[in-house]
Amino acid sequence: MITVFAQMPSGMIQGRQEYVAAAYIFTWVFFVGYAASLYLRSREEA
């Protein structure tokens, strides 16, 4: 019985840090990209 429990997964998703990194990178890319587009469009209009 103890062996069976030891072989069972903990129920928590392991690893997958690359997805976490991708999510945060996308957030920054979007914010910086949109800020840059606002700046460029403002310059165009000025």
């Binding site: 129920g11 928590m12 998703i13 392991q14 690893g15 997958r16 840090q17 997805y19 976490v20 990194a21 991708a22 999510a23 945060y24 996308f26 957030t27 979007f30 914010f31 949109y34 800020a35 606002l38 469009r41 403002s42 209009e45 000025a46």
Partner: protein
């Protein structure tokens, strides 16, 4: 990145938890309240939104750090749960931006003032940007937890419809050149598109792959761990103030364009 949340060797800010999150949020809101007074705003040597944008950026840097390195991994999702510190704020702020766009649409239709129309354009565009980000972050999270990038779950489907409705509004504004028609039509389209916001918000209660709401604003109940929760709200404050900065900048741009599109005044005829 792995579960550094309770590492005793980690440097700790003397103020952590809810006092910090509430404090930083109130500070930003207090600034907004102060600059809402026209006489104060006019005295500023810079555009009122810039300090708020810088503040939002500071909160985003620190909030992302907290989400990645301070908060513990989620009970079932482990490190993947850290995506929620940006995914959930993106969802809330996208819906808030669309809701404000709806109010602006109503104001534009009611008063016919140009500033409402410019604000509608600004909040709709910022909301679309946030909603696209929300969908991408959701797809990344879905792939890591559900093993799929996309599924026609009620929450995902209603979010996509909400996003497409506002994309349609922006396309409408780009196509219609007559200013009066554009103002009226986009205000009506804005009100219709905003109907999707409560539908999207409550769609999470419908059976689907997306988990049920962990936050219940009506009963102030939460199923989220306290540390994860205040870090998530901290990031939400960052998203909120950055959204206000984006919207303010976009509103100024819309105003300049609207001014340029106005027909020139006829020269005065001397008699």
């Amino acid at each position: 990145m792995c579960c550094a949340g309770y590492d005793p060797t980690l440097w700790r800010c003397p103020i952590t938890g809810w006092p910090l999150t509430i404090g930083v949020t109130l500070l930003g809101l207090a600034y907004l309240l102060v600059v809402a007074v026209p006489s104060v705003r006019k005295k500023l040597p810079f555009a009122w939104e810039h300090p708020l944008g810088a503040y939002g950026l500071f909160l985003l840097v620190t909030g992302n750090y907290l989400g990645l390195f301070f908060a513990p991994g989620e009970k079932f999702m482990g490190d993947v749960g850290r995506i929620l510190h940006v995914h959930v704020p993106a969802a809330w702020i996208a819906m808030l931006a669309f809701l404000i766009a709806g109010i602006c649409a109503f104001g534009s239709l009611w008063s016919g003032k140009r500033s409402w129309d410019s604000a509608l354009e600004a909040f709709a565009e910022v909301g679309v940007m946030e909603a696209v980000l929300l969908c991408i972050l959701g797809a990344i999270w879905g792939r890591a937890t559900w093993e799929t990038w996309w599924t026609w779950d009620p929450r995902l489907t209603t979010t996509a419809v909400m996003l497409l409705a506002f994309v349609g509004l922006l396309l409408l504004r780009a196509v219609v050149t007559d200013v009066e028609r554009r103002t009226t039509w986009s205000a009506v389209a804005g009100i219709l598109a905003t109907i999707n916001v409560p539908i999207t918000y409550y769609s999470v209660d419908k059976a689907g792959l997306h988990q049920a709401a962990s936050e219940n604003f009506q009963n102030a109940e939460s199923a989220i761990d306290s540390v994860l929760r205040w870090v998530m709200y901290y990031n939400t404050a960052a998203f909120l103030f950055i959204m206000v900065w984006f919207a303010a900048r976009r509103w100024r741009l819309a105003e300049v364009r609207a001014e340029a599109a106005m027909p020139e005044a006829l020269p005065e005829v001397s008699t």
